[in-house]
């Protein structure tokens, strides 16, 4: 026997949800639809507006070598940034979560480590631009150590790593705070139980901390992936994609084609492709993470 919708659900609830749903539709679904629509169109002066060119923009995009350079650089930048962010944030968070002889000193460091995040990206770019100068303080230090001068932003083999380093310096405090919050929420009883079982600090870290932090770390990686993949301002200010396109990111490609050259259709196609790449990567990662969690559970 078929049941009516009103029998299954309290339809009044939908009324209360309606404003939020409408807002969601207006703010997400509509722009998304417009971007997809624009990616199939091109502005025509003769037509006095946009006309459909269907998949021409995509065809042009996929045959542009600069696009593929930007995709490669973006993946290296994103994965490198995630590794550096976690590599910095996790140990520092562990350190700041540990017992210190003086709580005030620990709190001071908790504040101090957040400082880089307070720099706006252009200010950080300016600061590191000075530090990275061929005759700047970093190279002075390196030459004193007998290492010699490094063209951090002028050498194509160093430039991408250098901007990743700056990106990590600016944003690691954000991830550090998240991880620190996660560490503080692990019940102490688990550590006490491990101690009773004779676990040393390393075993406690491997068998208590890491499993307890897994969900949070997955979230951190997802946030980092989403923000690093479309990163723009810091690297743009420092190198504008050079030298020899070695730091040219996909967001630069989008900006240059869509905004600087005002090719809205082409720019929209780039935007759609970026969204698709991100969706595929994030979905794949979440699926793998969930499967692994199920296996370990």
């Amino acid at each position: 026997m078929r049941r009516r919708l009103s029998d299954r659900y309290d339809t009044k609830g939908f009324l209360f949800l309606a404003p939020a749903l409408i807002l969601l539709l207006l703010s997400i679904a509509f722009p998304l639809f417009r971007v997809i629509q624009r990616s199939l169109q091109e502005y025509s002066t003769q037509a006095g507006g946009f006309k459909y060119v269907w998949f021409n923009q995509y065809q042009q995009l996929f045959s542009d070598p600069l696009f593929w350079i930007s995709v490669r650089n973006t993946f290296v930048f994103t994965l490198g940034s995630i590794a550096l962010h976690l590599g910095l944030a996790y140990p520092i968070a562990l350190l700041l979560n540990a017992k210190w002889p003086n709580v005030k000193v620990r709190n001071f460091f908790r504040g101090a480590f957040i400082l880089p995040f307070l720099f706006s990206p252009p200010a950080a770019a300016l600061l590191w631009g000075i530090l990275f100068r061929p005759l700047g303080p970093l190279n002075y230090g390196l030459s004193k150590l007998g290492i010699g001068s490094i063209a951090f932003l002028g050498d194509p083999s160093w430039a991408l790593f250098s901007v990743m380093l700056v990106n990590s310096w600016v944003y690691f405090p954000l991830y550090m705070i998240l991880i620190l919050g996660g560490l503080q929420s692990i019940p102490r009883i688990l550590y006490d139980a491990a101690r009773v079982d004779g676990a040393n600090w390393f075993q406690r870290f491997i068998f208590v901390t890491l499993p307890q932090m897994r969900t949070l770390v997955i979230t951190v990686i997802l946030i980092d992936f989403a923000t690093s993949f479309i990163h723009f301002d810091l690297v743009w200010t420092m190198t504008k994609g050079g030298p020899m396109r070695s730091t040219y990111l996909i967001s630069f490609f989008l900006y240059e084609k869509g905004l600087r050259d005002f090719r809205l259709g082409y720019g929209s196609a780039v935007g759609v492709v970026i969204a698709l790449i991100m969706a595929i990567c994030i979905t794949a990662y979440v699926l793998i993470a969930i499967r692994r969690e199920e296996v370990t559970a």
Partner: protein, 424 residues
């Protein structure tokens, strides 16, 4: 009582409305909107002086200034114009003009120039009007050219005379180079973030001097030539001989405009290759600095690149003739004289530029010779200039790093250049 009171109120309101409307009609002026980015460069007083002078001559016109910073100008104006709210007169760079023109936002200046005043025709070089794809899309307010500028004090202290050609420049740089004290004679912005600076100031200028052509009349590459090779080889020779700050090729590829201006103003390098506007920039950072252009160089030709900034008239304006009149005012002898004398800008007015006192000026004197050389060439509006600058810079960097030879670098650059121009 109440009805009478309400009637009185109504009457007063009606009278007020009538009075307001009459006053409005009496004061109705034609409004011209001028979008500009020059407030910080010329000073607000100067911009206001230009406007008020025009309004005095045209009492029925009200010019509304709309200031937009230079770095936001292109994007904001494109957005405004596409929304149908285009200013009547807009500041315009050649680099931006293609994007505006492609969207049909620029009025054709040809008919307006054809009916220009006699005074205007006698003092404005027609070559300062930029034609693109059969249409006059913008006109220069001031012209720029790029040559070697030196710090007078630093050269005097080193007992050196300003160089008079490219080989002498190299000799001067060798004399100024002190690796122990970490001193170099010149800084050149060869970083990708300054790709347009490199293409225009360093590559194109040197190419003209080497007797080459950058593009043909359709904007397609002609720099892949022996003159192009000679141009790249010259710059690489300076890098290879460690004559450019900071003494390494890779270090030079990280130097941008900002650094090179800082180094020059701080008197850490004695020379740069730039335009006359550099004086104002350096003076702002170092009020004691004394600058001069070297005498114009001559290699295969004595020509220099002519560029500039100007204005365009919107295709959406309801008052194209008035907008043109405002442009004529901007390049009038009165405004030009003020801008040359007070702002050291080479204003687009032949009478003002030909003033004898200009020849005495260490910056503008040589500059006037550079721009008046018959071998000097104006650049043309090019589509996607940012991409084109990137193409030249990328392949030049490959050559500077020794990854390819000059000919290969230029051939590859030409191929990509033509693809961009044809696609645009």
């Amino acid at each position: 009582m109440n009805i009478r009171f309400l009637r009185s109120i109504g009457l007063v309101l009606l009278l007020g409305l009538l009075l307001g409307a009459t006053m409005g009609l009496c004061q109705a002026k034609t409004k011209l909107v001028w979008a500009e980015w020059w407030d910080p460069e010329w000073g607000e007083d100067t911009v206001e002086w230009i406007v008020s002078n025009f309004e005095e001559e045209h009492p029925d016109v009200d010019v509304e200034r709309s200031f937009v910073p230079h770095d936001q100008f292109n994007d904001k104006l494109l957005t405004l114009c596409q929304a149908g709210d285009c200013p009547d007169i807009m500041g315009m760079e050649v680099t931006w003009s293609d994007a505006f023109n492609r969207l049909g936002l620029l009025a054709d200046l040809t008919p307006l120039a054809a009916s220009a005043s006699e005074k205007f025709n006698s003092q404005y070089n027609p070559a300062w009007i930029i034609n693109y794809k059969g249409k006059a899309i913008m006109a220069y307010l001031y012209t720029n050219s790029y040559g070697v500028i030196y710090n007078v004090k630093l050269l005097e202290e080193a007992g050196l005379q300003p160089p008079t050609d490219w080989e002498e420049l190299k000799d001067t740089l060798k004399a100024l180079h002190d690796p122990v004290a970490k001193k170099w004679g010149i800084a050149l912005p060869f970083a990708m973030k300054s790709s347009c600076h490199f293409m225009l100031y360093d590559f194109w200028t040197r190419l003209i001097q080497a007797g080459g052509h950058m593009v043909d009349e359709n904007g397609l590459a002609r720099f892949d030539s022996p003159a192009g090779v000679r141009t790249l080889e010259y710059w690489k020779s300076l890098l290879d001989e460690n004559l450019v700050y900071p003494g390494t090729v890779k270090g030079a590829l990280a130097t941008g405009e900002k650094e090179f201006r800082e180094l020059f103003a701080a008197e850490q390098v004695a020379m740069i290759l730039s335009g006359p506007f550099e004086k104002g920039v350096a003076l702002e950072r170092n009020p004691d600095i004394q600058l001069a252009f070297t005498p114009p160089f001559e290699d295969c030709t004595g020509g220099y690149l002519l560029t500039g900034s100007g204005i365009a008239i919107s295709s959406q304006t309801e008052h194209p003739e008035l907008a043109w009149a405002f442009f004529e005012h901007l390049v009038s002898h009165k405004v030009a004289t003020k801008m040359i004398e007070e702002k050291s800008l080479t204003w687009a007015n032949t009478a003002a530029l030909g003033a004898p006192e200009l020849a005495e000026d260490p910056m503008l004197g040589p500059y006037a010779k550079m721009v008046s050389n018959p071998a000097s060439r104006s650049w043309i509006a090019l589509p996607s200039l940012g991409d084109l600058c990137g193409v030249i810079m990328e392949h030049a960097q490959e050559y500077f790093l020794g990854l390819v030879d000059a000919e290969t670098a230029l051939n590859e650059a030409a191929e990509e250049w033509n693809a961009v121009v044809s696609g645009g």
